[in-house]
Each structure stands twice: as C-alpha cells, then as structure tokens.
C-alpha cells in the first residue's frame, strides 16, 4: 500500500515529523516493498494553508493513508474529502512507524488532532518565523 509519512529526514531511518502540514519531508512509501520517494515539503514555509497544500500534494500522489503525529483541521478536511484515512499520534523512526502500521498497531483518527496553525509554533527545527494567516501579505486585491 502506498502511504505518506511526515518526516524530518529524506530517508526511512529518520524520525517521523509530528507535524503534518509543516513537516520537513513527506515520504511516500510502498509499505510492502519499502521503496520510497522523499519530497521536500513545499508547504513548510507557506504563509497560510500549509496543511491544505501538503494534503493536496499527498492526495495527488495517490496515497491510501497518511501517518503523522498531529493533523490540523484544514489538512484533515482535505484528506477526508480525498478519502484518505489519517493515522495520528505516531512517533519513532519512519521505518518503525511503517512496521507498526503493517501490524495494525496504529489507529486512524476521526477528527483533526490539533488546532489551526499549530505547526507554526516551535516544533523540531521549525524554521518559519512570524506571520499567521494573512500576516505579512497584502490585504487582497482591489475589486
């Protein structure tokens, strides 16, 4: 099965990144063969809607599940609409997490596990500073 995992490094022995929308890498892993593709997460430094962007990216990759630590409300909404279950609360190396998934040790979450914008506060190696929704951006265009 093709699954997406939020990760801190572009390989299977790095740790899972507990944030989904603003994780450093998204690993798309074939849970049988353990072949994988590492994608630098373009949403990591998005001023807003990071969860939405990351969710769309993994949906476009055709994954059948997402494994992460916390998933915010916007990401959750997009993944649900795409029919992709989210397995939250995971931790450890990506390899271990895939193993736990294969052994049915992870459970899917029925709702977002965290509030909006949570990935912008602290976090492992979080490099996005300042801003919030719309912060630092022009206030829209004149109509």
């Amino acid at each position: 099965m093709k699954i997406a995992i939020s990760a801190t490094a572009p390989h299977l022995d790095g740790d899972l990144d507990p944030r989904f929308g603003r994780c450093q890498y998204l690993l798309v892993v074939d849970s049988e063969s353990m072949e994988f593709e590492a994608i630098e997460n373009p949403a990591m430094s998005a001023p807003g809607g990071a969860g939405i962007q990351a969710a769309q990216l993994v949906a476009q990759k055709g994954v059948e599940a997402v494994i992460t630590g916390d998933c915010g409300p916007n990401a959750y909404q997009v993944l649900s609409a795409a029919g992709i279950p989210v397995f939250g609360g995971a931790s450890g190396s990506v390899r271990d997490v895939v193993e736990a998934y294969r052994n049915g040790k992870l459970s899917s979450i029925a709702a977002a596990s965290t509030g909006p914008g949570a990935g912008m506060r602290g976090g492992i190696g979080g490099s996005f500073i300042g801003g919030g929704r719309g912060g630092g951006m022009g206030g829209g265009r004149r109509r």
């Binding site: 807003g48 809607g49 929704r133 719309g134 630092g136 206030g139 004149r142």
Partner: protein, 285 residues
C-alpha cells in the same frame, strides 16, 4: 491634502495628535478624520461623532458549481493562498484564507466558479460638528485589515483636509493606510523603543514616497537619541508635547489636547501650516 498620522511604536500618541489636529482645524477649513486602525478604532472615544451610516465591507470569495466543475485542479494550482483545494471529486473553499484576488474564477476553463461577497467588517461614518468622520471595524477573527482600510479611505473627500489615524506598527495595515498620503506625521517618544520603531516607520514612509515629520510626545524624561536621529536624517521635528500628567489625565477622561488646553489649538494650526509647506515642496525627506 491627505495627512496620515503613524508611529511605529504603539501607544506614542497617534490618536491624541490626529484628533487634536482635526479639532483644531475644524471650522477653519473642511476637515475629515478617518480612523484606519480598523482592528481597534479609538478616535471615536475622543471625538464622540454622530454616526449616521454603516456599510458592510466584503471580500469576494469563490463559489464552485459542482455540476460544471471538471475537478481539473487548476484553480487550486493558481491560488497563492491555498484557499481552494481539489481532493477526489470535491472542491473545498477555505473562505478565511481567500484574499479575493479572483485568479481561480479567471482560470477556470469550465467557468464553474462564480463569486459571492463575504463580509469582513463595516465602515461607519458621520460627523463631529462640521468635521467629517469615518472609521472601519474589522470583524473579530478576521486576519486581513486591508479591505476594510481601503473602504474607509474611499470616503476621503478630495476637497477636504483628510487626516488618517493609522494603526500602530509598520506592517500591512500601516502601509495600506499611508499609501497615497501627501504627508506622514510620525508620533514618537524620546526613548530607545520609540527611536527603534521610528526608524522603521521612516523607512516605510520613504518607501511610500510620503514626506515625513516627527512629533515627539512625552518629551522631558527620556533621552536625546530621537532628536539626534531626526537631525541626522534631516527629518523635521514639528512639535514637542511635554510629559505632563495633566495631559494624561485629560486623555483618560476622553479629552483631546485641543479640548482640554485651548492654547494647543493654535500650536496644532501652526503644525498644520508647517506640514502644508513641507508637503508642497513634495520632496522625500
């Protein structure tokens, strides 16, 4: 003439200066005061305007016709704000992220996207004696002040002296307020914090091509660094308001300088004459 009153550091006395200036000029010439601090308008507390109109401010947000949509995802690719997402056979619009740019409806090949207005605030207008007054109020939880500020500024009367009470700080709402001003009055205090934020505010005013001048409020205690900076940068210090407990007491009672001490009215009129002269020269200081 459009004169914005900004600061950099918050709490320096923008509203005190803006309202005192407006009251000092009222009756002498057509004057308008527009409160552009739409997240926290407070000029009304000092001016007590008679409000006679309230208009909603809206931002256009996309509405997708599910029958016509082909789920191609182009709208979501083109959205710079991640406000529209296509997942499976669903289109999700995140209205609070939408900046109303219209790109999604523009690129939609199936013409499945129309727009509907989403209210983000109001503009209230009225009078204070012969002075025109308006203020914007951004709805709680909205992130973007721009659209409401622009709506307030639209009420500017080209035949009047328009005073804009700017928000604190130097980010987007302040830029939006100062944009198009003929002059920017920067209110500061003679302290390291005041100076630090003043230098940023001066950069913004210069970037907006607005000549600027400084009002030093709470002058007395504090240091000389603001005066030295102004001298160095050739920025005129147009007024010094002393650190005086009576002024603070009056302000706490909701009284402007012009109201509580009439000699200030003359001082503000002289300030305005200086501003008018500097703005006419039109050079970026």
């Amino acid at each position: 003439m459009i004169l914005s009153v900004a600061s950099g550091k918050g709490g320096t006395g923008k509203t005190l200066v803006a309202t005192s200036l407006a009251l000092s000029l009222e009756g002498q010439m057509p004057v308008q005061l527009l409160d552009c601090d739409v997240e926290e308008p407070n000029a009304h507390i000092l001016l007590r305007p008679a409000i006679d109109s309230s208009e909603p401010v809206t931002v256009p947000v996309p509405v997708v016709d599910k029958e016509t949509c082909t789920y191609c995802g182009l709208c979501s690719e083109v959205c710079a704000y991640n406000a529209i997402a296509v997942a499976g056979r669903t289109v999700l619009v995140f209205r609070e992220l939408c900046h109303g740019c219209g790109a999604c409806s523009y690129v939609c090949a199936a013409r499945a996207i129309s727009e509907e207005p989403r209210q983000v605030g109001v503009v209230e207008s009225g009078r204070v004696g012969t002075m025109g007054f308006a203020q914007g109020r951004l709805n709680v939880s909205e992130a973007m002040a721009g659209p409401v500020i622009r709506a307030v500024k639209k009420l500017a009367d080209s035949k009047a002296t328009v005073i804009l009470d700017a928000p604190p700080g130097t980010s987007c709402p302040v830029v939006e307020t100062i944009r198009g001003s003929d002059f920017c009055l920067l209110v500061t205090e003679p302290t390291p914090f005041g100076l630090s934020d003043l230098t940023i505010a001066v950069e913004v005013a210069r970037e907006m091509n607005a000549p600027c001048g400084v009002v030093i409020n709470r002058d007395g205690p504090g240091d000389e660094s603001v005066e030295r900076y102004c001298a160095q940068e050739a920025i005129p210090v147009l007024m010094r308001i002393p650190f005086d407990r009576r002024i603070a007491e009056a302000y706490c009672r909701g009284e402007t300088l012009a109201a509580c001490m009439p000699s200030w009215q003359q001082a503000f009129r002289e300030l305005f004459d200086k501003v008018r002269g500097l703005a006419a020269v039109g050079s970026v200081s």
